[in-house]
């Protein structure tokens, strides 16, 4: 823990990002080694690194098991309008007053990676694509859940329009609040996976990820990034804000 309290030297922005990533890893490591020391202290296995590595490799094993369990056809349960949770809980890695401000007129969704057509998309253009709306349950990794209605463009439709290589492994997302995350391609192509523009009967409000978020009812809440400003297709695992700190990458439900 004391390592993280040393005064940092002056660094270039790119180096700072690396340091932040390293600190995230250390966060997981120090947390895990506390438990490891408590439990394995008597077993001459006092190196938290070994336990940490084992847990990370078990998490990768769980990614594979979940990918195998996942069905691209099985739909998440849907609910009626009367079952919607009201008020719907606000949730982010920051407080409500830090929700990013976005100029809707100037907003563009950037597209990059393994796609044929990389021109940016306005909100109006996204609304002209076929839409879908589902009332589904959002399950947070913390354990709570809430039912809401999200409407928008099926991600599969969007990926087809931009000529994405759907044999690639991942679809990554970058957000206006510096959040980032990714989906595996089979989940991205699931019929209920949406680029959501609407929440209930209205356009996505700021607190719920305006102007565009991912809504994927077959994943835990943190795999539903909000305020997305860039989408890219890749064969390299793009990582994510929580994934890089130790949350399981697949996190299917």
């Amino acid at each position: 823990m004391s390592e993280r309290k040393k005064a940092p030297p002056k660094l270039e922005p790119a180096q700072q990002t690396q340091v932040v990533n390293l600190q995230r890893r250390l966060l997981l490591r120090s947390g895990l080694s506390l438990g490891a020391l408590a439990m394995l202290g008597g077993c001459n296995l006092q190196d938290g690194d070994q336990v940490d590595k084992l847990l990370w490799s078990m998490s990768r094993w769980n990614d594979r098991v979940q990918a195998w369990l996942f069905s691209g056809q099985r739909l998440a349960q849907t609910y009626t309008a009367t079952q919607i949770t009201d008020p719907f809980p606000f949730n982010a890695f920051y407080a409500e007053y830090n929700v990013p401000e976005i100029d809707l007129d100037g907003y563009r969704l950037e597209v990059s990676g393994l796609v044929e057509r990389k021109q940016p998309w306005t909100l109006q253009a996204l609304r002209q694509l076929p839409q879908r709306s589902d009332i589904t349950r959002l399950i947070c990794i913390e354990g709570w859940s809430a039912i809401g209605q999200w409407g928008g463009v099926p991600l599969r439709t969007f990926l087809e329009r931009i000529g994405a290589d759907t044999t690639a492994k991942y679809v990554g997302f970058k957000c206006a609040d510096r959040y980032y995350s990714y989906l595996d391609m089979p989940t991205a192509l699931h019929p209920q996976t949406l680029l959501a523009l609407d929440f209930g009967q209205v356009a996505l409000p700021p607190d719920y990820g305006y102007p565009l978020r991912v809504r994927v009812p077959t994943k835990l809440g943190f795999k539903n990034p909000k305020h997305i400003v860039e989408l890219f297709v890749s064969n390299q695992n793009p990582g994510g804000y929580w994934e890089d700190q130790g949350y399981n990458g697949f996190s299917g439900i």
């Binding site: 438990g35 998490s59 990794i141 859940s145 949350y247 399981n248 299917g252």
Partner: protein, 202 residues
């Protein structure tokens, strides 16, 4: 019969792996519980494993494999070796009542290598709770892919309560189990060495 050990090696091996697995699952589970408590209490941080929610989940979803594979090995052994039939059966209401009253009056003698009816009942109950905790855990882990199982528990939210109470039942068993070991410490070495059966009683 005179050479038969009190605890065969597969029972001892799975017992200690299970003890390690249960310790990890319960303490990491308490860490996960604390992120969104079902009731008006938290588990103290010192009693949780993982350091933070991500660490607790990493432990929970790693050790679950050890616990389940170990449990399947034990159940398979117990059925095929006739360990269940020989050591945990027969079991009758009248025998449980008789042994329970004797135990409450502190008149129940412990014979090494022989389970009384209350012990047999508690082992069957904890095995049932083990099945319940695994099934409700699967329902929480995969409420969409294993939708039928989640529905069986009344949905995701109720499955969390089932999982919690199954844990609480298992924890109560562990408290009882350890109390009995403290009261009759001679039961501990046979779970390590295998022990030797008292043939004079047979």
């Amino acid at each position: 019969m005179s050479t038969r050990r009190i605890h065969a090696w597969p029972v001892r091996l799975t017992h200690w792996l299970n003890a390690f697995g249960m310790f990890c699952m319960i303490s990491s589970g308490w860490g996960i519980y604390n992120a969104s408590p079902l009731f008006a209490f938290h588990f103290p941080t010192w009693s949780t494993l993982g350091g933070w929610l991500g660490g607790s989940i990493a432990w929970h979803l790693a050790v679950m494999w050890l616990l389940v594979i170990n449990a399947l090995a034990y159940l398979l052994y117990g059925a095929l070796s006739r360990h269940f039939a020989r050591d945990l059966l027969p079991l009758s209401v009248s025998a449980v009542r008789r042994d329970l009253f004797a135990a409450l009056r502190l008149k129940l003698q412990h014979r090494l290598g022989h389970y009384n009816a209350v012990q047999r009942l508690s082992y069957w109950l904890v095995l049932a709770l083990g099945v319940l905790v695994v099934l409700s855990g699967l329902a929480i882990w995969k409420p969409v892919q294993l939708h039928g199982l989640a529905s069986l528990f009344g949905g995701f939210d109720i499955a969390r309560y089932v999982h919690f109470f199954a844990m609480a039942g298992i924890a109560a068993f562990i408290v009882l189990h350890l109390t009995l070991v403290l009261l009759v410490p001679s039961t501990l070495p046979p779970m390590i060495t295998g022990g030797r059966r008292e043939t004079s009683h047979e």
